[in-house]
Amino acid sequence: MSLEETMSVEETVKKIATRILRKSEADYASAASFKDLGADSLDIVQILVAVEDTYDIELEDEELQNITSMKDFVAYIERKVTDKQ
């Protein structure tokens, strides 16, 4: 079992986002969206790919268009992971 599989989705997303964006956990905690963390479109693609690879899921670009906050993003990933099981 990988480290990510023992972590909550929220913890995993935080770990991925802080690594790709080179931000601290404190930065992450104070931000409501990836945009608040200074993420550009390339960062977002890299985060999406890392999340997809971690959970072996496919995220739909059309559905992601309506998601602006990290809280909603985490909830969306949780739904995808649940649907897969």
């Binding site: 550009d40 479109s41 390339l42 999406l48 790919v49 997809e52 496919e58």
Partner: protein, 269 residues
């Protein structure tokens, strides 16, 4: 659909081969009898669906996930190809990405991302593919008119495609002694999902066909047909060329409306 299976027994790798233009090429090569290796970046289910459509045409189809902007992922992809097929006959360099920004707004990350996927990937794939093309081969690069014409936010992609076209010429000469033919295709605006990235204006498809002498937009299947021709024997003496396929759009001034060509009165003076 091909009737003679001109590519039967050949193995073809199509980068970005699961959807859009890549999917059309994959299925066209399958129609001609080639076994197809479909490289994809994110959408495993889409790649699996395209592979299923290829298998329905009586060929083997295999999918490989790899971001061709990453050298180690290209290495891994070609190791898998060598293990499963032991050879490669056709490389279609189709995968593309890009940051839609003007030159003044483009940062080095966006530049590198675009160049790595659109131009450097062909160099790295061609180096590895040529080692698997023991009995000669074909390489076809999918470029864009943006390599020579200017669109507002197409800077990075346009420049990367210009590099891709130059590399096509260099490799055509360098690989000719190995019996490897290298050519490219530069498409105009193609009716595909990718077009929406650079043309958010929903009216563009209509404007595009109106300004195209051929009277319609280029479809992915048009490009696939040309790829099949460049992979066949009838194009043996075409080397290092980048063939424009745009229905004549680039020949006419932008904004020319060809849908209103009703002839009018004959000048009898």
């Amino acid at each position: 659909m091909g009737n003679e299976n001109i590519l039967k027994g050949k193995v073809a790798l199509i980068t970005g081969g699961s959807r859009g233009i890549g999917r059309a090429i994959t299925l066209r090569l399958a129609d001609e009898g080639a076994d197809v290796i479909i490289n994809f970046f994110r959408k495993k289910s889409t790649a699996a669906q395209t592979a299923g459509e290829a298998r329905a045409r009586g060929v083997n189809a295999h999918t490989i996930k790899a971001n061709v902007g990453e050298e180690e992922q290209i290495d891994s992809m070609f190791r898998e190809i060598e293990e499963k097929f032991g050879k490669l006959d056709i490389l279609i360099n189709n995968a593309a990405s890009g940051v839609p920004r003007s030159a003044m707004d483009l940062d080095s990350r966006g530049w590198d991302w675009t160049m790595d996927i659109n131009a450097r990937a062909f160099l790295l794939c061609a180096q590895r593919a040529s080692r698997l093309m023991k009995n000669g081969g074909r390489m076809v690069t999918i470029s864009s008119l943006g390599s020579r014409l200017v669109w507002p936010i197409y800077t990075a992609v346009g420049v990367s495609k210009a590099a891709l076209e130059a590399l096509t010429r260099y490799l055509a000469v360098e690989l000719a002694p190995q019996g490897i033919r290298v050519n490219g295709i530069a498409a105009g605006a193609v009716a595909s999902e990718a077009l929406k990235l650079y043309a958010p204006d929903r009216d563009l498809p209509q404007l595009s066909w109106q300004s195209t002498p051929a009277g319609r937009m280029v479809q992915p299947e048009d490009i696939a047909d040309l790829v099949a021709f460049l992979c066949g024997e009838q194009s043996a003496m075409i080397r290092g060329q980048v063939i424009v396929i745009d229905g004549g759009m680039s020949l006419a001034p932008i904004g020319t409306d060809f849908s209103q060509q009703d002839g009018g009165e004959v000048d009898r003076s």
